[in-house]
């Protein structure tokens, strides 16, 4: 915890103005900054929000910019707000020694997003986990089936309307 607290940059404009040299921001500028729906620099971590239909494109742009290692992906259920599900991808660059968080939102009515396994094969199990526990479908995933829960399970345990204890 030795590093000095850094200022928070909220909003696309201020992040783009104050951090033009960040490799992820440069990648976004090259890819098409109009696609970016939001940006936040908070607690030393950069978050970029992209439209859900452009997720694979955005991750390809990030990957080409040197963010070579897919680390993690997960979802957050923001019931009752709409769109309900926030998908979070964490990508790391071995060369720049920096991380970037890419976010996309999907609604409950159409809980589906493009699979990024074609860009990062390492996302395979992570997408299966989100499919299993949140019920979000990944279009184009090579083997989309439950991973933690039994195949015949009803419901998605990490959704906020799923009880923590007791019988279903």
């Amino acid at each position: 915890m030795a590093e000095a607290p850094q200022e928070t940059l909220a909003g696309k404009q201020s992040v783009l103005e104050k951090m033009p040299d960040h490799p992820a921001i440069r990648a976004m500028l090259a890819w098409g900054v109009e696609n970016l729906t939001g940006a936040l620099f908070d607690r030393g971590e950069l978050t970029l929000t992209v439209p859900s239909e452009k997720i694979a494109e955005a991750l390809t742009a990030i990957k080409d910019a040197g963010f070579n290692a897919f680390v993690d992906m997960t979802a957050v259920d923001w019931l009752p707000s709409e769109p309900r599900f926030q998908l979070t991808y964490h990508v790391l660059s071995h060369a720049y020694k920096q991380r970037v968080r890419i976010k996309a939102w999907v609604s409950e009515a159409d809980a589906a997003i493009e699979s990024v396994t074609s860009v990062f094969p390492g996302a395979n199990f992570y997408e299966r986990e989100v499919f299993d526990l949140f019920g979000i479908r990944f279009e184009g995933h090579p083997n989309l089936r439950r991973i933690m829960m039994p195949d015949g399970w009803v419901g998605h345990p990490l959704r906020k309307d799923y009880p923590v204890e007791g019988y279903r």
């Binding site: 915890m1 030795a2 607290p5 908070d42 607690r43 030393g44 971590e45 978050t47 070579n68 290692a69 897919f70 680390v71 993690d72 997960t74 957050v76 259920d77 979070t88 964490h90 071995h94 020694k97 991380r99 968080r101 409950e108 809980a111 990062f120 094969p121 390492g122 996302a123 395979n124 199990f125 992570y126 499919f131 019920g135 979000i136 479908r137 083997n143 989309l144 089936r145 439950r146 991973i147 933690m148 829960m149 039994p150 195949d151 009803v154 419901g155 998605h156 345990p157 990490l158 959704r159 309307d161 799923y162 923590v164």
Partner: protein
Amino acid sequence: MVDVGTPVLQAPTAEGSKDQHMVLNMGPQHPSTHGVLRLVLEIDGEIVVRLYPEVGYLHTGIEKTCESKFYQQVVPLTDRVDYLGPLANNLCYCLAVEKLLGLEIPERAVWIRVLLTELTRINSHLIWLGTHAMDIGALTVFLYTFREREEILRIFEAVSGQRMMTSYFRIGGLAMEPPLDLFDRIQAFITTFPEKIDEYSNLLTGNPIFRSRLLDVGHLSPEDAIALAVTGPTLRGSGVDFDLRRDMPYSGYEKFQFKVPVSNRCDCWGRYEVRLEEMRESVKIIQQALDGMPGGPVKADAPKIILPDREKMKTQMEALIHHFKIVTEGFNVPAGEVYQAIESGHGEMGYYVVSDGTAKPYRVHMRYPGFASLQALETMCQGRMLADVVAVIGSIDIVLGEIDR
């Protein structure tokens, strides 16, 4: 509950493949799967054609449980995820919440954290070495590694009262000042430990059976390793020189001098070499931590977040109120989200904590290295002999508790 449709079932069958392919089930109850991992293997004679890992037998929904606990109550849950490296879990979670809170940790607590986390790494590697050698058929090494592990567990017990489920690191520092003789005990342990590593090495490195079971087995190229999100010693065994402790330091690691062992062999032997060397480097870090151990408090000055000392709680009104408030209501954490990663014994361990401003985490996601390493299993085993699967599982050092969560 919204129905999202039937999952696309692609159960592993021999359908579509040649008649001579056989489907073989390995596990979930199998001594060399290190827990309850089930592998479905499609084999052609003795050659592995395809391999499907089936996980989830230990799934406890620990991420869901975290959402119903106060922030400080999550610490004991984290011990149970990677149960072979309990303090590394505590460290990662505490760092994530401290980042959310913007809390400064006293120097002494930081150093003790590094000291004990490195001991945890040795503990984790000792279990890996013992069980890996046992899988290969070298039964003796297990007895020697568990002899040293016993001493580490006694140190953990002296520090926290628990051998495995330590929960010693708390949000804002440590649970309490460590016992007086702790540093002497650790010093005594690390003085003799390098000889013990030589002992293991003497038993294994020159052993012709061990060599032929590991050399050129389980090949994983650096490109594949990165693509499949493999991290830690498995990644470094594939020749990628990346260690979070050195390259993206956290918890004061930038103050320590150590080498990052890398092997370009890209096989099980490379991973063996890397882990053996890592134990020696951990000893160096522990020595530096012991030599430079600063004095001072082990808890941050944040009475609304950290429980007061017992003495104060019994004698001061204000401390009693804080104690009561923390235990009954927890403490609110500013809204936001953080991803904190550390280099655990197995690879990159990360906690993604989302706060909505209340006293309970809105979402805790745990990123554990074993889950990703398992994806690489098929790549490493394809086209190889069935017996090599056991050696490869041992070499990626998985713990099913961290995979299934």
